[in-house]
């Protein structure tokens, strides 16, 4: 036993680079899986925590429409109805000088005390008295305070609804207690201060209540509520918000699965190589008396140890990477869904353990095949490579059959429309796997055709190289499959993003029909502050402005849940404001001003299974009303979807005169910049700062947001290629290692060192080229699956597939370049080694 362990240890000591590669291979695989898991999990927990921090023990909320609910309702519930366990709430967002958005929560310290929520901690002592009696006083989360360098009694500069304000921080929310990560990003103010800061005098956003489980009581409360004001359970509200990101999170998890797949490939490669390299040593050990069981156990223990080392290292990398990813994930969520102020990184021990277990398990499983091979082969036969290769070659057709089968299943999964997102993602994976299984056969085919070409051109070195690759299909096939899949994913994701960008650009051109847009600066996703009254009319009088159009964006309640509504008043009807999915856009659009119906965006229809002609209920200021869907339009502003109705219908249903945006249509021949200056002049007299942007600028800004959204996808894409690169490096080194005697023989028979080096580079280059070429069809297939299936099922939007050639060439170049880079070191070694020394090892 001891001699076994020593012999193996010796092997690694003599080949430290191999050891390093093996450990790095495991580490990278583990790191990738762990980092994505951690980032996703942290976001998820952050969401729960920030929800919990704000909802406390409440069981229900009373919420109002766009204008909130009258504060007198609260007094009525308390004083007349005797509902003691109630608390008023106002929430908004403020920005601080470092650009981050904080959540401003207005609360009543007295009411909170009845409810014993988390804010009770803050509602004590002289600090609470200052909150109550001094204007512009707030409490700040300790974590945020420390991040911003704001201490108790410091001033704090903020911008709220675009206006600068100076606040006084009377203390940390946590008081003397330890900073609470769940409160990160929280600014707490007395409800009076919050009303004043947010300009919400006289209204509340919400009334929180604790109700027993009594339907009668709920009915009684509902009967008291004016139209447009709703009682809902906290659980329902939270899950609705959380549902918004479900698809996003699922996609993130799919990425982590992909990482797992590539990572396992990598681990398998490294482990297989480390065993193969020792085949002769192991055979010798067998000859001197080690049993099969001993050998097997020894190798597996070694694999487990390597897995453990690499795994621990991988956890460290993973945690580091996760912190970076978390930032991106949070930003995406903030851009697209809701403001997530908690960004505390929370390493979940379970995820870390799972990652470590994965590393060890993958290493052991990967080593199992080669270990069995080494242990079971007759000692003499195992010294010869040919036996293994012959068997591998016989397996190639079977692998191909398996591959075709799995691809067929994949296609059927992707084509079944009723299937959800999970089967679709499984389909993509099966597609990748199946193609991977098919790769060795395709490699042989490609090698054969290359040989034919090489024979014609009589380039003997190339023939030698290609034959060498084909002869060791068991090694080369795996490396090429790994590289192919990685590059294909990169091509697929790249094409998808490219298609998406094109679609978005086209869509922006369609919807941005006015020349200049004016809106209040929005501080948070899904929240649009209203414009000052009378502004659209004032702007419309500017010389050169032909017409104005207005928009009002609000969140409303519908029978399908909380939804975003856009009320539009377009001045022109000849040019449809949307591209409609089914109907003839021009016809549908011309009925817009008079129709008693709504348009819904494609994601909204997809999410709620709506067709043209279906109806659903909207809760309006004048009570619930059922409206039919008159058209479904393509829209990419929100994966939650959007309901659109004409302003005149909105005005009949809601008592809300406000607008959130104005578009100015200029007369021909007037200078945009000049009119813009006049607009600026009018706006400068407004209390509220407003943003003026030309349609060109909005277009650019929207595309910027788009880029940000896909930043994480791009990073993951690069990571996948990176992992594949390390994989191919180790595979190629293994490959070249096994061929060193052959090369020595060639050298001895006259091959110059330069020719030997060329031979190695030709071989790796050929492998890279093969992978690159093979990755193109797979990449395109992945792109189609992502564009047509995954995106539709995740977010509900369809887009036009746009394939451009440059990224495809780039993919091939990338594969060849990665392979050549991986071949450099083996080539250098081959050139350096004395043939006699290599041969002496016989």
């Amino acid at each position: 036993m001891a001699i076994l362990a020593r012999a193996n240890r010796r092997h690694f000591l003599r080949h430290p680079l191999q050891l390093l590669l093996a450990i790095i291979g495991v580490a990278l695989g583990v790191a990738m899986v762990v980092s994505i898991d951690l980032a996703a999990e942290s976001t998820h927990r952050a969401f729960s925590l920030s929800m919990e921090a704000l909802t406390g023990r409440y069981t229900h909320h009373i919420t109002g429409g766009p204008s909130g609910l009258p504060e007198s309702l609260f007094t009525r519930l308390r004083v007349e109805e005797g509902l003691r366990e109630t608390a008023p709430a106002i929430e908004g967002y403020v920005t601080v000088n470092d650009g981050s958005t904080l959540r401003l929560a207005g609360f009543d310290p007295f009411s909170e005390r009845n409810l014993r929520s988390r804010f009770v901690k803050a509602a004590r002592g002289d600090d609470a008295v200052r909150l109550l009696t001094e204007p512009d006083t707030v409490m700040l989360s300790a974590v945020t305070g420390q991040r911003l360098g704001i201490r108790p009694n410091d001033p704090m500069a903020i911008t709220v609804n675009g206006q600068p304000h100076q606040l006084k921080v009377v203390g940390y929310v946590e008081g003397d207690e330890a900073p609470d990560p769940a409160l990160e990003g929280l600014v707490l103010a007395d409800i009076a201060t919050a009303q004043e800061l947010l300009g919400r005098i006289g209204v509340l956003d919400r009334i929180d209540l604790i109700l027993g489980n009594s339907p009668a009581q709920e009915r009684q409360i509902r009967s008291l509520l004016p139209p447009g004001i709703e009682l809902e359970s906290v659980a329902g509200r939270n899950s609705a918000t959380q549902n918004m990101t479900a698809a996003f999170e699922l996609n993130l998890r799919a990425m982590s699965l992909l990482a797992l797949l590539v990572g396992t490939f990598l681990i398998y490669n490294t482990m297989a190589f480390s065993v193969l390299q020792r085949r002769e040593l192991l055979a010798t050990l067998r000859i001197i008396g080690a049993t099969r069981g001993q050998l097997l156990r020894e190798i597996l223990i070694e694999a487990a140890l390597l897995g453990l080392f690499g795994g621990v290292l991988g956890l460290a990398f993973g945690v580091l990477a996760a912190k970076g990813l978390l930032h991106m994930v949070t930003r995406t969520i903030n851009d697209l869904y809701f403001v997530l102020t908690v960004t505390e990184f929370m390493p979940d021990p379970l995820i870390l353990l799972r990652g470590l277990a994965l590393g060890v398990a993958a290493a052991v499983i990967a080593a199992l095949g080669p270990a069995l091979e080494a242990a079971w082969a007759s000692p003499l036969a195992s010294k010869a490579r040919s036996g293994v290769e012959n068997r591998a070659r016989r397996g190639v057709p079977w692998l191909a059959v398996g591959g075709i089968l799995s691809m067929l299943i994949a296609i059927s999964l992707l084509q079944t429309e009723s299937a959800g997102l999970v089967p679709a993602i499984a389909g993509v994976f099966l597609l990748l796997l199946g193609y991977g299984l098919l790769t060795p056969l395709m490699l042989l085919g490609f090698a054969w055709s290359t040989l034919v070409l090489a024979r014609l051109s009589n380039t003997w070195l190339l023939r030698l190289a290609v034959r060498g690759v084909a002869a060791s299909v068991s090694r080369a096939g795996l490396a090429i499959a790994a590289l192919t899949i990685a590059v294909a994913v990169s091509v697929g994701v790249g094409t998808m993003i490219e298609s998406f960008r094109g679609t978005i650009a086209e869509w922006l051109d369609q919807i941005l029909q006015a020349d200049i847009y004016i809106a209040a600066p929005s501080t948070a996703a899904r929240y649009s502050p209203p414009l000052p009254n009378g502004l659209p009319e004032q702007l419309g009088r500017i010389d050169g402005v032909d017409k104005t159009g207005t928009g009002r964006r609000i969140i409303i309640s519908t029978s399908l849940g909380e939804s975003e509504l856009l009320a539009l008043d377009p001045p022109y009807l000849n040019q449809p404001g949307f591209r409609f999915k089914q109907a003839d856009g021009k016809v549908v659009w011309s009925t817009f001003p008079t129709m008693k119906a709504v348009f819904v965006s494609e994601p909204y229809a997809q999410r709620h299974h709506l067709k043209v002609g279906d109806s659903f209920e909207l809760v309006t200021d004048s009570g619930p009303i059922t409206l039919p869907v008159a058209g479904i339009f393509f829209d990419y502003r929100s994966d939650q979807g959007l309901i659109v109705m004409h302003r005149s219908l909105y005005d009949r249903l809601w008592k809300d005169g406000a607008n959130t945006s104005v578009g100015l249509y200029l007369k021909a021949g007037f200078d945009l910049e000049k009119i813009r200056q006049e607009v600026g002049l009018i706006l400068s007299s407004q209390q509220q700062p407003l943003v003026v942007r030309s349609n060109r600028e909005i277009r650019a800004a929207s595309l910027d947001t788009f880029e940000r959204t896909f930043a994480i996808t791009q990073v993951l894409r690069l990571l996948a290629v990176g992992v594949a690169f390390v994989g191919i490096l180790s595979a190629l080194m293994a490959f070249q290692y096994e061929r060193r005697r052959e090369l020595a023989v060639l050298r001895a028979t006259g091959l110059t060192p330069a020719q030997a080096g060329w031979l190695v580079l030709l071989q790796t280059g050929f492998m890279g080229l093969t992978a690159g070429l093979l990755s193109i069809p797979l990449g395109l297939a992945v792109a189609v699956a992502l564009v047509r299936v995954i995106n539709l099922r995740s977010f509900g939007w369809t887009m036009d597939l746009a394939v451009s050639l440059p990224p495809l060439f780039a993919a091939i170049t990338l594969a060849v370049f990665a392979a050549l880079l991986a071949g450099l070191y083996p080539a250098y070694q081959v050139m350096r080694v004395e043939p006699s020394a290599a041969l002496r090892e016989e």
Partner: protein
């Protein structure tokens, strides 16, 4: 005199502001009670002219104010109950806030409601706090009304007596009409009640010592018609205990012969009585006469230990020297301790003639400063 001075001081640290238990130590209380900042509020330096019904309403220039009703009630089947209802107003800052939001207010309000069920041997107490903004709590003069959430006491629709009082929580509801049988009595020096030697450390203090109380009590799902006598105490001030004062014993007794007695003893930490301790005796016709400290002799007959810690005297012998009368006072229930943000004993008592041993009246007794510290909701 009542629990109020004590309470108003702890408003800042406890009542409003659920703080952690450790802070509510002796030292914490003492430190708060000595707080020197009067935040610009007026203080009571000299006697003033009282004006009714206007003075039933709030006096926002003073920091603290309370409306305080206690009473003994009888049910139709010999049931016996005691009740206490108190509305406190505590100014956090003087003056009307110049702010846009209606929520901005400068008052913190608290209310205590307690019921003693003698037959069921059950004392139940509740505490509520609220801000005054947007009409959640407060007091007004025209017509008189004081309220916190749905607990309220208000003048009859015509603006005068009887007052209507209603409070309910956790299945207990008390709904009473209160009608005075005697005019208000000005306590101390024409209504100026000195609390220590320091000028200004005094309150304006009047009582209506005998009111008919009639109404309905809901208890354990039953409606019980009740009637009896109640006592109203009204006080406003910007004052606090001196650092050598420990607390007080306060007696409000309604005797069967139609006379009423109020007496408070302010205790020093060294066990002696403060010279400002005093009382008043109100005859059947409403004529009142002051009782100086040395005119009433108080001897404790026993003691009661609170389950939350602290030992209170329980049962007294009172010798009223001007009338040569000796009475004994017995709690109807030993545990009538109010255990919320503040702790004090406030309970219904029986009054017996010390010589014959026969019942001769009823009343309420308040004991403070025996059990410092805050206890969470154990009174329920």
């Amino acid at each position: 005199m009542n629990i109020k001075i004590y309470l108003s001081s702890i408003f800042l640290t406890w009542a409003l502001l659920a703080c952690n238990q450790q802070k509510a130590t002796d030292e914490g209380v003492a430190a708060t009670l000595r707080e020197p900042d009067f935040a610009g509020f007026e203080r009571a330096y000299a006697p003033r002219t009282f004006d009714f019904p206007a003075d039933h309403g709030p006096h926002p220039d003073f920091r603290d104010e309370w409306w305080y009703v206690t009473g003994n009630l009888d049910g139709p089947n010999g049931q016996r109950f005691g009740f206490q209802i108190t509305f406190f107003r505590h100014g956090l800052k003087r003056g009307k806030p110049n702010r846009a939001s209606q929520w901005a207010g400068q008052d913190a309000n608290m209310a205590h409601f307690a019921l003693t069920d003698v037959e069921g041997k059950q004392y139940t107490s509740f505490q509520r706090i609220s801000r005054s903004g947007v009409g959640l709590a407060g007091a007004q003069t025209e017509p008189f009304k004081v309220w916190l959430d749905d607990w309220r006491m208000e003048a009859s629709p015509g603006g005068g007596f009887p007052w209507h009082f209603k409070a309910s929580q956790a299945g207990i509801e008390l709904d009473l009409k209160l009608d005075p049988r005697k005019p208000p009595v000005l306590n101390g020096n024409q209504g100026l009640s000195q609390k220590s030697a320091e000028p200004g450390n005094a309150s304006y203090y009047y009582s209506i010592t005998r009111m008919d109380a009639k109404g309905m009590l809901k208890l354990s799902g039953k409606d019980i018609p009740v009637h009896g006598l109640a006592w109203l105490d009204r006080e406003w001030s910007t004052s606090m205990l001196a650092d050598y004062q420990a607390g007080w014993d306060w007696f409000s007794l309604q005797l069967d012969d139609g006379t009423d007695l109020m007496f408070f003893r302010l205790r020093h930490k060294d066990g002696s009585d403060d010279p400002t301790s005093s009382g008043v005796l109100i005859a059947q016709d409403g004529q009142s006469s002051r009782l100086a400290r040395e005119e009433v002799l108080i001897e404790a007959l026993g003691s009661w230990e609170s389950p939350a810690g602290g030992v209170y005297p329980s049962g007294w012998r009172l010798t009223i020297k001007p009338t040569n009368r000796v009475i004994t006072i017995h709690p109807v229930l030993a545990d009538q301790e109010f255990r919320h943000d503040a702790r004090y004993w406030e309970g219904a008592v029986d009054v017996l003639d010390a010589v014959s041993g026969k019942p001769t009246g009823r009343g309420y007794v308040e004991l403070t400063g025996y059990a410092p510290g805050k206890v969470e909701r154990s009174g329920q």
